[in-house]
Amino acid sequence: MSSWARNARVVRALGMRSVRQTFRRPQLIAPIIVFPTILLAIQTGGASGALELPGFPPVQSFLQFMLAGAMVQSLMLAGNSGGIALAVDIEMGFTDRLFSAPIPRFTIVLGRLAGTAALGLFASFWFLAIGLLFGAEIESGIAGALLAIFLVTAAAMAVGGIGAAIALRTGSASVVQGLFPLVLVVLFLSSAFFPQDLMIEPAKTIARYNPLSLIVEGIREPMISGIEVGDTLYALLAILGIVVLGLILSDRALRHRLRVG
């Protein structure tokens, strides 16, 4: 077996463990699926009057508009949960088991990210299923659904890189868990739950430069109108930027951890 194939096998095994770990620990799966679903239900049920606001983008239903926000909330919390799980591994010494194996140590981070990506994939299917079940339409059809699924999966992995970096640097589950409110702040300062054009300053400017807004719009457009090349490219660039940042920070944190023990 080539070293590439062997490393891919390790990443897959660690990714599967990560997914199993999430589903077996309710406090990890709840923020990814349960909370965004409840918030989606509350917002769709209670705030659909927002559709009447002048300047609100033309959509088939408020649920159709909100689906992208729920998906992004889910992927953000998946990244945070992945970081918490990695920090728990560090605290209980499980990462020592992995570090003492004859594998490139970065495969440990990649395995965790593969697991977070799989959770993003699951979340995208979950929210698309909910949307379709409750009457939301995907304007660009199957291609748009596939694009949304891809962007959610890739973004989950990207955000997971940031979570992993913080976990590796601090080695503390409570520190990573403490970032939960920050995740929500970043989320609400984007266009996840409200159209950017209807925001007031300074939230409007912050949302404009928040890379999360680019990801949200990349996911939302195929659902509410059609696939826009520009929006898709911006979303991909934002994801790429977060991936690169996450990988650099994770690599540095990993080296630091191995140096100081």
Binding site: V10, R17, G93, D96, S100, I103, L258
Partner: protein
């Protein structure tokens, strides 16, 4: 610093299982390991003893490539721990302190994952997992989550995971700490069986009896330095004389000690409830001791001739009892069996 000369010159070419030369590790300005030298021959069980904070775990973490040294060098299974770290990791099995197990995984999942990490093909990994689970008597619990295992089951699972790739050198970091005597004995039997099969074992322990029972050679580390090294028998022989341990039925300990002082050398006790008297002639001195106490009207409830133990070696080399350390640790951090 300890002189390793009595166990032969340290040489990377001779390829013992473990060679350590002047190994150091500093944390900021604190030197946790201060230039230690160790040689562990192929097929040996090396017992590494020391109190909390002596540098045992730091040494093991360096030898298992989990921590970079800040000075000196070491080779494990013929590979440099810094320059050939991955080759070292392919040659060693590691069962770390506190059994680093994921409570949400099943025993079978854990061993299969370990097999994958070691690059063992899937089918072979499954076969080895089944075989190892049977070997450590965990087949019935293999599909239960590790969180529900007892302390002894966790240690056995940890040991099985460390063996999945049939390592040349096995590092066991306090494998029986907190276990009940039966579970401890099971682990000892497994370690002996592994060693008989040719595996070199580097065993850190706080239990002197464990080192005495298992180890071919023992190293005692204190404040980051090796303060004694040799076979358990040679270390005990270095101490020389046995001692008589007396439990008094009546009379004061202080009075008994003043009467016995001319006969031998009084030794300190942990709790002051006994008299310990080192004697030159062993059993031949017992009648003298009994007679002296009898003449003073001091009754003896129990008397025992005690030959030097590793605990005595430990006291001699470090100035305190290792058991006191364990008790203190147990009071601070109770560990369930």
């Amino acid at each position: 610093m300890h002189d390793p000369g009595h166990r032969g010159a340290v040489s990377f070419l001779a390829m013992p299982a473990i060679v350590v030369e002047g190994l150091e590790r500093a944390f900021d300005k604190v030197l946790a390991v201060q230039g230690i030298d160790i040689v562990v021959e192929e097929g040996e069980i090396y017992g590494f003893l020391g109190p909390n904070g002596a540098g045992k775990t730091t040494t093991v973490r360096m030898l298992t490539t989990l921590l970079l040294p800040t000075g000196g060098r070491a080779a494990v299974a013929g590979h440099d721990i810094v320059k050939e770290a991955r080759a070292v990791r392919a040659s060693i099995g590691v069962a770390l302190q506190e059994a680093a197990l994921d409570p949400l995984m099943t025993g079978r999942e854990l061993i299969r994952l370990q097999a994958t990490l070691q690059g063992i093909p899937t089918a072979e990994g499954r076969r080895r997992a089944d075989s190892l689970l049977e070997r450590v008597d965990l087949s019935a619990a293999a599909d239960r989550r590790v969180g529900g295992y007892s302390g002894g089951m966790k240690r056995r699972l940890d040991l099985a995971a460390a063996l999945v790739h049939e390592p040349r050198v096995l590092f066991l970091d306090e494998p029986t700490t907190g276990l009940d005597p039966v579970s401890r004995k099971t682990i000892w039997e497994e370690v002996r069986a592994l060693n008989e099969g040719g595996t070199t074992v580097f065993l850190t322990t706080q239990y002197l009896e464990e080192a005495d029972q298992l180890a071919d050679n023992v190293g005692i580390i204190d404040s980051g330095r090796i303060v004694a090294e040799g076979t358990p028998e040679s270390l005990k022989a270095e101490l020389g004389n046995p001692h008589i341990q007396l439990q008094l039925a009546q009379g004061s300990i202080a009075e008994a000690e003043s009467i016995l002082a001319p006969i031998g050398k009084l030794l300190p006790t942990k709790d002051g409830s006994r008299v310990l008297l080192e004697v030159e002639n062993g059993a031949a001195d017992i009648p003298r001791v009994v007679r002296a106490l009898d003449e003073a009207g001091i009754g003896v409830e129990a008397l025992e001739l005690v030959k030097p133990t590793l605990d005595d070696v430990f006291v001699e080399k470090t100035g305190y009892h290792l058991e006191d350390e364990i008790e203190e640790k147990a009071e601070q951090e109770p560990v369930g069996a």
